[in-house]
Amino acid sequence: MGPAVPMPAPAASRRTLHVEHLGRRAYLEALAVQTARRDGVFAGGDDHLLLVEHWPIITLGRGGDERHVLRRSAPVVRVNRGGDVTYHGPGQLVGYPIVDLARRGSDVHRYLRDLEAVVIEVAARFGVVAERRPGFTGVWVGHDKLAAIGVGIRRWVTMHGFALNVADLRGAFAAIVPCGLAATGVTSLAEASGRCPDLDTVAAVVGAVFAARFAYDAVVECGS
């Protein structure tokens, strides 16, 4: 059966997603881009999805416990998102959706589940069966974390998002207790599928899957 036929959306409510490929950027630079895009959405602008690879950095959510940083192998920064501690670095694709949730039902939990669904779908495209673990936001392969999720919301507009491990990052993650959960490992598309996909390829798939999951009418791609 085909999809239910929706009422044709009036032109004014057509939703456009801008997918920006930022390449490899410092965390602080990407944070500045996020803030600028969020200001744009506050002003009524289109939603954005920023896709970026960071230089090594450890970030703590607002409620994050510093004791979960075992080794300061990279700069540590506390940021305005939920969740505990995580690591970003080369080999990981980070997605920052700047989305106005007020335009889509104002439901934070549904948004988190949608982000998980996006990553699960992307993993499937690379031959990896990933899943949710009820009560533990994120995307998992068995008991190992494939993608971390942490979101910051102001006036229903989102910042931050998800970090999908593409290359094997187990060495880098050894510096922290991921998400504050001891006895959890991390995994990656490379480890789970047996071959390491190209980051740009993963980024292209993430953009397409995200746009489909969130049912945008149009997608504008830009960036390197």
Binding site: R62, G83, V108, I153
Partner: protein, 431 residues
Amino acid sequence: MSVEIVMPKLSDTMEEGTILKWLKHVGDVVTRGEVLAEVETDKADMELEASTEGVLREITVKEGESAAVGAVIALVEENGAAAASDRPSGPKRPTTTAGARASDSRSRRTASPAGSASHESTAAPASEGKATPAARKVAAERGVDLQTVQGSGPGGRIVTDDVEAAAKHPPSRSERDAAPAAGAEVDEGATRTSGARAARAPLVERQELSRMRQSIARRMSEAFRDIPHFYVTAEIDMTEAARLKDALLRGALFATPISYTHMILKATALALTRHPRLNASYRDDAIELKGEVNLGMAVAVEDGLIVPVLRRVDEMSLAEVATAARRLVEQARRGRFGREDLSGGTFTVSNMGMLDIEDFAAVINPPQAAILAVGSIKERAVVRDGVVVPRRTMRVTVSCDHRIIDGVVAGGFLEELKRLLENPIVLVVHE
């Protein structure tokens, strides 16, 4: 009237939320849109903004505690009712922030010259009565608030001299605000301390340089360390050049439209053939003069710049310069260039005209001896025959290696460049 702030419903499936942090404290003034608290549900943090104005009266759910959706987490006393409260300083100025209110309540003490409690209790309330009539008259004339003046007369009476002194040295805004502002900062610091230690450590993010950036860093250090630079600037009237550019465009004579950059490149090549010392290198106690003019063009790319080289510009017509320059820049931007495209330059032109800057000085690109920095073309007020007229001008600065070039040589080059660009027809007829 008290307004209840409740745990917001951030999701249909949300049953309770956790207060991560209160950004406002009991007694703080709250204005609409200000963030009161950070609420966490699952892995999402929501900044809870005030939808009312008044004074935060009570916090019922503390940091780290959870509450059900809809449960009261705080009470805000709205403005009207708050005036009758036991905290008069806040509600009277509902638009001020908590920090400003704190300063307000402290400013009186610090504003008084003596700054002591004893002064406040004696001089301040009595000041009206304790000023001489003459002092009061002067105070009225000079606009001095007697409340802020300490008397030096008998019994602390304010005399004319006190008022004069106060008028000369009024407590400045910054003086008045300094102490309370510092206090407000301390308050803020205290909350931060209780919050996150990691956030307070200065963040330094290390980013490895790309190969291109490494190469730029090495070459620029070398150049600036080894070459004694000096700089000469000239203003060039581009009004005629603008006219010629438009005429050529209208005539559609050339396959590639001529831009200012093309004219500047052509004029630079011509001027260099007449001033060969700027088209040279210093090496081993000798000047090596170059038999051809190969112009490097600085092109900005992602996180850096590259300098593709346009060869034998001295032998090119303006049309040829335009075609070759356009092709070279396009290739460079697409990253399609070979090693030979980037080497062999004898002089460099760096044009920042598109960025609306007046002028700038560039660092020489070794082993070259000089580089030309081009500013924006703008309409500026210029004196012609004793009359101020609007003309389109630009400023160019040539940086020179003083080991082989002197000011007079650099000046001669700029003079020639100016002459060519101000009489640009020469650029077209010169094949």
